[in-house]
Amino acid sequence: MVVKVYGPVRAACPQGVLACLLEKDVEFEIVHVDLDSGEQKKPHFLLRQPFGQVPAIEDGDLKLFESRAIIRYYAAKYEDRGPKLLGKSLEERAVVDQWVEVEAHNFNDLFYTLVLQLVILPRMGQPGDLALARSCEQKLEKVFDIYEQRLSNSTYLAGDSFTLADLTHLPAIRYLMTDAGGLAHLVTQRKHVNAWWQAISTRSAWKKLMNLANY
């Protein structure tokens, strides 16, 4: 039985799920959802994800949504194979959860707003709010300063091995490093953040995803 992952292969949140499945060597099938035409807001999709967002998964009878729930589920289900994405003890798992929460609450909103204002709105022919973008960038600088401090004491965010805490940052940072108008300095100007990014983005599972997404 193959896990069906609903969402475009190039959207950030589905990428988190795909990266996790690749790390755990779980077979999947990507079911494309056309965000540009608003397929995610159509009735048939809302039955699957009532908030009209991607990703969602279907695995036999199991249906789940919210990428950070899905990755926790598969990391737990396949705990015994591949990398220990939830750490090696309950205490380590909690630190993993802590940094996934940090990504969700302190990083993601800023990143999303920045990209919306600097890249997505202009692409749609609307002016972005540059003051808002600048304010987000300044806040993101402070967040990255905290990451720099953390990563100077710890090879990966939750400890000495790669976990969901690092994985969940991959799609957004990839975007910052490539598509999002001059923000790569946030990473490259910080020695430990840069080294961490190099380590996590050269993992074979991530490289496989980059191929799948045709970057």
Binding site: F51, R68, I70, V95, D97, Q98, V100, E101, A104, Q149
Partner: protein, 215 residues
């Protein structure tokens, strides 16, 4: 050794308090006055570098992010008190799903309402009426999804009370109480029944008695 919970007067730390009571885990509290800026004190930032509440200190083991903390204690004390994670990996997956929904869809608008309506005068700014209206509309749409979900399922993750429901208690208490927006809950039959059920749990009543909010 007793778990110390920082910032009990405020909403997010109350997720931790109600969880610890459900799990029959002893704790003590340490006040942090956000209005006096105590969360930005260097000593506090050593515990929580992003300067938010709560933090828990359990001997030498320090954790932050309320939803990471509740996951940890719910799992650590799985064999005592109320089961808050479901009985199987799949049930836990549903708990994670709806806990993420609370974090990403429910919390942002209700947090904005809390800040604008309850904290604006204390923090010295004029409430933004447009933002309040927008947040109410967003929250209404989320509550419509909850109404549909709870018409098919007694609790959010299934027929069992879990972290997913618990996580809603503190800010929803503000909504129906000092914010005067109880009609948002009462106008939805299943949401209303669910709210009565979860807010009347002895654990939540105990939290309200022990640590009254600053209003």
């Amino acid at each position: 050794m007793v778990v110390k919970v920082y910032g009990p007067a405020y909403a997010s730390p109350k997720r931790v308090l109600v969880c610890l009571i459900e799990k029959e885990v002893e704790f003590e509290t340490a006040p942090i006055d956000l209005l006096k800026g105590e969360h930005k004190d260097p000593d506090y930032l050593k515990l929580q570098p992003f300067g938010t509440v709560p933090v828990t200190q359990d001997g030498d083991y320090i954790l932050y992010e309320s939803r990471a903390i509740i996951r940890y204690y719910a799992e650590k004390y799985k064999s005592q008190g109320t089961d808050l994670l479901g009985n199987t990996i799949e049930e836990r997956g549903q708990v994670e799903n709806w806990l993420e929904v609370e974090a990403h869809s429910y919390n942002p608008p209700i947090y904005t309402l809390t800040l604008q309506i309850l904290f604006s005068s204390k923090l010295g700014f004029t409430p933004d009426q447009n933002l309040i209206k927008e947040s109410e509309e967003k929250l209404s749409k989320v509550l419509d999804v909850y109404e549909e979900r709870l018409s098919k399922s007694k609790y959010l993750a299934g027929d069992f009370f879990s972290l997913a429901d618990l996580s809603h208690l503190p800010f929803t208490q503000y909504l129906v109480g000092p914010m005067g927006k109880e009609d948002m809950i009462r106008s939805r039959k299943h949401v209303s029944a669910w709210w009565d059920d979860i807010s009347n749990r002895p654990s939540w009543q105990k939290v309200l008695q022990l640590c009254p909010p600053p209003f």
